[in-house]
């Protein structure tokens, strides 16, 4: 009896904790088949530099904190100004880890190879649903990708053939009908910028009126202060003061919310993997600190941190593939 009561209490406490700690994580559990992290008994120590994605910034910081608890002697310095800063840093050797929210372009890979003589290795570390969001008081619920294109781009490759400048053109009535849409986006160093441009703008170009913010949190901040605004960022940055929209691939398709199921089933059109690039010479092992760090990130504990940060964890099958690349 006593045991049952304490168990129930525990469950209750756990539920409250989960409810406060994780935003969209009510039902989000990491894959039970993921193996727990096995600490390297020999121990590792040293410094790691991480330069790159702003989307991954919070994750890198959280991983770093936990990793530091495991290995006292390890320091990871995290700098996140945008994915575009990762290739130059890896090429020049100023960083060992290059987190990126988009894959490297052929040009970046070539510049890397020119310097190092081999190609960079990409390790997927988490999943993300790139969210398009509005102010929380905006009544709109969903958009189609061609509409997103007509809102953000000046090339209209999505097929709508013209710009959407007011909320009325998206079907909102009343006071909303004549309100102009205020656009927030990222700067060009951002991988989120590049990914959004490729998938949502059909490789078109942004309107020059998109206010370029240096980080995802300033995009969220900007949108939460402006009722007429729309913006985009990784799902982990979404707060209660903005409302992520469901998205449909085509005009007649059903719209899907940026949830874990819709990302895994690839129904949500802006799903992507978040990557960490490393310079791993062929036939050689990675720097031991970097290798342990990546092993930790790809463990059960590391993926629980992903959930905590509001992103989406990888499945055991995906993790297995990534670990093979390290060996």
């Amino acid at each position: 009896m006593k045991m049952i009561r304490s168990l129930a209490l525990l469950a209750l406490a756990g539920a409250t904790l989960a409810g406060t700690a994780a935003r969209a994580a009510e039902a989000l559990q990491v894959d039970p088949e993921l193996s727990a992290y096995k600490k390297n008994e020999a121990g590792v120590s040293g410094t790691l530099n991480s330069i790159g994605s702003d989307t991954l910034n919070e994750l890198m910081t959280l991983w770093n904190e936990d990793f530091h608890k495991l290995y006292e002697g390890v320091q990871v310095q995290v700098e996140g100004k945008g994915s575009g800063t990762a290739p130059p840093a890896l090429i020049e050797g100023t960083a060992q880890l290059g987190p990126m929210s988009r894959p490297m372009t052929p040009d970046e890979i070539q510049k890397f190879e020119d310097r190092h003589g081999y190609r960079p290795t990409a390790i997927a570390v988490a999943l993300d649903a790139l969210a398009v969001f509005t102010h929380k008081d905006n009544p709109i619920q969903s958009l189609t990708l061609p509409q997103v294109d007509a809102i953000f781009s000046r090339t209209y490759r999505g097929g709508l053939g013209g710009s959407i400048a007011t909320w009325g053109e998206l079907g909102l009535g009343g006071a909303w009908a004549s309100r102009p849409i205020s656009l927030f986006g990222r700067n060009s160093a951002s991988g989120t910028y590049g990914f959004f441009k490729e998938k949502a703008l059909y490789k078109g170009d942004f309107k020059e009126t998109v206010k370029e913010q240096p980080g995802s949190s300033s995009v969220v901040n900007g949108v939460s202060q402006d009722v007429t605004a729309i913006g985009y960022s990784g799902i982990g940055y979404v707060t209660a003061s903005v409302k992520p929209l469901a998205l449909a691939k085509m005009a007649d398709d059903e719209a899907y919310a940026p949830s874990y199921e819709n990302v895994l089933s690839q129904k949500y059109p802006l799903a992507r993997a978040l990557l960490i690039y490393v310079a791993k010479a062929p036939g050689q092992r990675l720097d031991p600190v970097a290798e342990e760090f990546l092993k930790y990130v790809l463990s059960k504990e590391g993926q629980q941190v992903v959930v905590k940060a509001g992103y989406l964890p990888m499945t055991a099958a995906m993790v297995k593939k990534q670990l093979e690349q390290l060996n």
């Binding site: 100004k81 945008g82 994915s83 575009g84 800063t85 290739p87 130059p88 090429i91 020049e92 988009r102 372009t105 052929p106 040009d107 970046e108 070539q110 510049k111 003589g117 081999y118 190609r119 000046r154 090339t155 209209y156 490759r157 053939g161 013209g162 710009s163 004549s178 309100r179 102009p180 205020s182 700067n187 060009s188 160093a189 991988g191 910028y193 590049g194 990914f195 441009k197 490729e198 490789k203 078109g204 170009d205 942004f206 020059e208 009126t209 998109v210 206010k211 370029e212 240096p214 900007g222 202060q225 402006d226 010479a281 062929p282 036939g283 050689q284």
Partner: protein
């Protein structure tokens, strides 16, 4: 140096003579030191300019191609139909009429191996025609009309010793049988294993389009659906060339009358003719999709060469093809166009055997290789660092190609450029895109414009405030007060610009956003009420007691007037907004003038940047005004001029060189300021003088983009070029300031 002392008069006592010698020695030494220091400054400034200009200079270098000598010429057993090479220039290959890929080492020319293609049917026979939709990808048409899509893959690997090895692999992506009926003139195959599109040009000037889609259901059973459509409509002339994009969704055909016709091919739907355009008089002889599949390059029998893009027309109108670029024509007919797999460059082959390399966006003619004999089969490798071709006499020719910055030309930096999908030519800065087929837009015009716009609004606020303030403190204020006011203004200059930018972005911008009508009203009310108050003051001054104590303290009286104006604006602003503008200024602005109000706008910049510039202009102006010789003002006052007349007619002209220099130094500071504009503008590269939106300045742009630019990349060098421009702008401003100052000094110096 005019430091010569007069010769010591004879008869001085020896100690004095020695002392004079010592003084002279020290003088000479000081003169040398000062000269050397000045020269050092000039040399280092020039050194910096040369350094940054040196980084930017390679942007304008032409492409270079260097022929690789092949000791043993590859000689396949049958007529070659296509050639190619890997990205490291170690393996080359030739596809011949038998359908065999022969691989050669490019170092020594030896045969490395042969890989035969498996024909899709037993009756296939030899290869009839080959089309290359992309580098190392081949759509092969056999004699019986069946088709194979094959790719040559080079996979770099590393052996146990860490040495790089390259694995060759011939990959069969799919095949389709011949279309029913008579053998077509030419067939192309596109797509991948699951989804194939075959487009055949039939004898009767018609097309047959076949789509084959393989889908797998939940139980792992795969089913294949085949849709066949014919295009048998009337065409403007006989089709002489056609091409299909990589996904098999767009068909473009050129005719002998110089028309370009376009169809959209959608799965399960009949092909839809989108539009047609007249390219020129001559028959179209070559068509190729430019990297990214948005533009098509068109060459004709007369050598005419242009690119056409699908553009976004006005809302409500269909998209259409437009001639976006005209490239340098060939002297003879264009036989083939090969798009670069890395950028928007195009390799073209003329009927005379000449090879040209041009870039679409910049319209730069990068390279011309004169015809030595009849060449065919032009090709590039996957890194676009080699050009290949075949000629009967020389066999396989390979040139290593260095083409680092083809997208930059004076026109693409400073002129209007018609980019892919854009409705019209425009000045655009959008430097990177995260994908390989992105077309960089590197117009510096919006950045230079943004710099001047920010500076203009800042100077608009700072110049009158600083100069008039300096006139008042130097001419009218009591010296006791002046001792306090001047250092107080100078302390403003000590506030770091990052703090100003931070406050402007996070505190001032939302504040102004919410209280804009109040601010605008205040800016109008304060000067008017000040003027009224001063008119009243003149009346009061007629009373001798007021006059005696008021002198130099006038501003104390004006402080409450300013306060009252502020209170009035605070009270009337929201009322005005509510009753005249329907409650929201930005909404009203958009509905009435179709003008957007951005939170981070030029008004914020005027305040923030003005705050940074005011102390500079104020201090220099104040010094110049105070240093006007006493005897001038005294003479003026003695002759009966009033204090105002003296200040306006005597002091201000004499001090004008100094004030001008102060203004120009302030201008230079505003042009180069980075942190404030970086934080307090939206960094939007727009061409719009409206004070309600932001800007992107040269300096902020360098700060934003340099971390993402790999060293020696085009963006990196263009950013250095913007640094050169920034340098020249401030250099120009300072030189003008100095010249004008000298002139003014000469003019007013005799006073």
């Amino acid at each position: 140096m005019a430091l010569t002392t007069p010769p010591a008069p004879a008869g001085l006592i020896p100690e004095n003579r020695a002392r004079i010698r010592r003084v002279r020695r020290v003088d000479r030494l000081a003169a040398w030191l000062i000269t050397a220091g000045g020269l050092m400054v000039i040399v280092s400034v020039l050194g910096i300019l040369i350094l940054i200009a040196g980084v930017a200079a390679p942007l304008f270098k032409p492409a270079r191609a260097e022929r690789l000598e092949l000791p043993a010429a590859p000689a396949p057993a049958a007529e070659p139909l296509a050639v190619g090479a890997d990205e490291y220039l170690e393996n080359g290959y030739v596809l011949d009429r038998r359908g065999v890929f022969s691989f050669y080492g490019l170092e020594r020319g030896e045969l490395l191996g042969e890989e035969p293609l498996t024909p899709p049917t037993a009756t296939a026979g030899e290869v009839r025609q080959v089309d290359t939709p992309a580098v190392n990808l081949f759509s092969i048409e056999w004699e019986d009309g069946s088709l194979t899509l094959a790719r040559v893959r080079f996979a770099p690997g590393y052996d146990a010793a860490g040495e790089r090895t390259i694995e060759r692999e011939l990959e069969n992506l799919g095949s389709m049988p011949a279309p029913a009926g008579a053998r077509p003139r030419r067939s192309l195959l596109r797509g991948d294993a699951g989804n194939l599109t075959r487009v055949s040009l039939l004898e009767g000037n018609a097309f047959a389009v076949t789509r084959q889609a393989t889908s797998t259901d939940l139980f792992g059973e795969s089913s294949t659906a085949v849709h066949e459509h014919r295009i048998e409509e009337a065409l403007p002339g006989r089709v002489t060339a056609f091409t299909v994009d990589q996904d098999g969704e767009m068909l473009l055909a050129g005719t002998d009358t110089g028309h370009l016709v376009r169809w959209e091919l959608r799965e399960g739907e009949a092909p839809r003719r989108l539009d047609q355009a007249r390219v020129g008089e001559a028959a179209i002889s070559a068509l190729a999709m430019v990297l990214g599949d948005v533009s098509v390059a068109v060459g004709d029998e007369a050598g005419g060469y242009s690119t056409w893009s699908d553009i976004a027309a006005q809302a409500g109108q269909p998209r259409r093809l437009a001639r976006t670029h005209t490239l340098r024509p060939h002297p003879s007919a264009i036989r083939a166009i090969v798009p670069s797999p890395r950028d928007k460059s195009l390799l073209s082959l003329g009927a005379d055997g000449a090879l040209h390399l041009d870039h679409m966006t910049s319209e730069r003619h990068l390279l011309a290789m004169a015809a030595t004999e009849e060449r065919k089969l032009p090709a590039l490798n996957s890194r676009a660092n080699a050009i290949l071709s075949w000629s009967a006499g020389e066999g396989l020719s390979v040139w290593s190609l260095s083409n680092p910055h083809p997208e930059v030309s004076l026109k693409s930096l400073f002129g209007r450029v018609w980019y892919e999908s854009y409705a019209e030519p425009d000045f655009v800065w959008q430097s990177s895109g995260g994908t390989g087929d992105f077309e960089p837009k590197l117009s510096l015009v919006p950045l230079i414009f943004g710099t001047l716009k920010g500076t203009f609004y800042a100077m608009l606020l700072a110049l009158p405030l600083a100069v008039l303030g300096a006139v008042y403190t130097s001419q009218f204020m009591r010296p006791g007060l002046r001792r306090w006011v001047k250092p107080a203004v100078e302390i403003m200059a000590a506030v770091p610009s990052v703090v100003i930018g931070f406050l402007a972005a996070l505190w001032l911008a939302p504040l102004v956003d919410g209280w804009f009508t109040t601010l605008a009203l205040g800016l109008a009310l304060i000067p008017t009420m000040l003027l009224l108050a001063m008119l009243g003051w003149q009346r009061l001054e007629e009373i001798p007691a007021v006059r005696r104590h008021g002198r130099g303290h006038e501003f104390l009286l004006l402080a409450p007037v300013v306060g009252a104006a502020c209170l009035l604006a605070l009270w009337a602003g929201p009322a005005l907004e509510l009753h005249l503008m329907g409650g929201s200024f930005s909404q009203w602005l958009y509905e009435t003038f179709n003008e957007r109000y951005d939170q981070r706008n030029s008004i914020i910049i005027a305040f923030a940047l003005g705050f940074a510039v005011i102390p500079i202009i104020f201090t220099i102006s104040d010094d110049a005004l105070s240093n006007v010789p006493r005897h001038l003002t005294a003479a003026s006052l003695a002759l009966g001029a009033s204090r105002w007349q003296t200040a306006w007619r005597v002091v201000l002209p004499s001090a004008s060189p100094g004030i001008f220099a102060g203004a120009m130094i302030g201008f230079g500071r505003a042009v180069g300021e980075t942190m404030i504009v970086l934080m307090a503008t939206g960094n939007t590269p727009i061409l719009d003088w409206s004070p309600f939106n932001g800007m992107r300045t040269l300096s902020a742009n360098i700060a934003v983009e340099i971390p993402e630019a790999p060293v020696a990349s085009t963006l990196y060098r263009v950013l250095f070029l913007t640094a050169v421009i920034l340098f020249l702008m401030t250099f120009f401003a300072n030189t003008v300031a100095e010249v004008v100052r000298q002139r003014l000094r000469k003019k007013y110096g005799q006073l």
